[in-house]
Symmetry: C2
Subunit: 267 residues, 2 copies
């Protein structure tokens, strides 16, 4: 049986660069689908394009409106292909109206000097030492992830916190071998930092989500279907918009992705 | 006399949404112009569009190739306008070939609960307590900024550092009142972190640059032409690509922008 994520990001190819997909009830969010699957399906349109070069390096998705449940169309346009890099513009439409835009950079990497600068936090319990954390908000997409919080869980007791930091182990539920699309989706699985900070439920919506891919295909294969560690925090909340950043670590301590987003919020 | 930045980002409007500009020798970089002016001129195309709504919230610029010295064309397309937000796709071409792509989100903000989470570093010397730091690489664009490093200067002595953190006060040189375009440019003024870390000069190029605007027009006006504080660091270097992040603070301690980029590098 196909994994629910693969159903959610399944694309039928029309002519080259034009695809049809559909929202999936498994990944339903408060309004429309989980942004992570929208991000993943846009990336997948490029990955599935016959002219694709190399692997994802960066992806920025702008959410222009919540998706309506049902089908959508993606146009994926490789606007410039160099010797080792490729630049994409993508648009997701419903009934001819833009619901999301994206740009992506793909590249063929070569071996160079490499070094971390931010390090994976040490002394954390492993995923298997923790239980799957119960989440107070019962949304379908949340049940598609096994999240084991080390700290910074989401609670709605109205007690404002001094920060919104969270550290959690996360994997697809049921387990699924990690690939670029599922990594893109995981990069949006960090609960809105304003909920962690204020512990009050209020309307929010990501407006722009950027992901930088540090992993290559071999690193993703090596990670398999085991939990990855996510470390998320906010930067600044001001007059309706705030930004949050996160790193996603493989369980061997390698950085798989870093991700940033800016989010609309109401009081 | 017009400020050199205003010359570099000057756009002539053809029909609605189509503009012509030209690279400026004042902002020349190693190869092609400083990416900050490219970012700023793309933002300016949206700002100058007759249908623009609100103020910039986020901007992502993808550099598909170095610009050739001379003229360029920008097409700015507001692909979706909601009640209080607007989504843009922009393309910069030279001779019909894409040299840069961008997406932007604009919005009309309203007053809400606001709070910082990352704080401006305290106990730093003020800009006026420091001198303009001499920079070893004499590129034209560098002379368009007055940079006063608190720490993390760029030196090329081949002594690898344990990190690439820099804190510096920076303003346009000569002074120019801060606006969204100049703030977008300043967000790319942080020297490539790999130079700070390795202290070796080697080919690099930003491939994608994202800026989140926390300031509104009133905050920019209040900042005027005084130095802003930039705090930059790298996240991870691996096989040809690394990412770096920075915050830009007003001298009153308010966050004006946060910014992230992923950069191609060679050994």
């Amino acid at each position: 049986m196909q994994h629910a994520l693969d159903t959610a990001i399944e694309l039928e190819s029309l002519e080259a660069g034009r695809f049809v997909g559909a929202t999936s009830p498994s990944y339903a969010n408060m309004v429309g689908p989980f942004g992570g699957t929208t991000s993943a399906v846009l990336l997948k349109a490029a990955l599935q394009h016959p002219d694709v070069l190399g692997a994802p390096i960066s992806l920025t998705v702008n959410f222009a409106s919540p998706l309506v449940d049902g089908s959508f169309e993606i146009v994926a346009n490789p606007v410039r292909t160099n010797r080792s890099t490729q630049h994409w513009i993508l648009q997701l439409t419903q009934g001819g109206i833009v619901a999301a835009t994206a740009t992506a950079v793909f590249a063929v990497r070569r071996e160079t000097w490499s070094a971390p600068e931010v390090l994976m936090p040490s002394d954390l319990p492993s995923a298997l030492d923790l239980i799957c954390t119960p989440v107070e908000v019962s949304l379908p997409w949340v049940h598609c992830y096994d999240m084991r919080f080390v700290n910074g869980e989401m609670r709605f007791d109205g007690q404002e916190q001094s920060n919104s930091n969270s550290q959690l182990w996360v994997r697809d539920e049921p387990p699924r071998p990690l690939d670029f699309a599922s990594l893109a989706a995981i990069c949006d699985c960090f609960f809105p930092r304003i909920f962690i900070r204020r512990r009050v439920l209020a309307p929010i919506g990501t407006v722009s989500l950027t992901t930088y891919f540090h992993a290559d295909a071999a690193m993703l294969t090596a990670q398999g279907d085991r939990h990855v560690l996510g470390c998320a925090r906010a930067v600044n909340y001001r007059n309706g918009y705030y930004d949050q950043s996160a790193e996603v670590w493989g369980d061997g301590g390698q950085l798989l992705a870093s991700t940033h987003q800016i989010v609309y919020f109401r009081d």
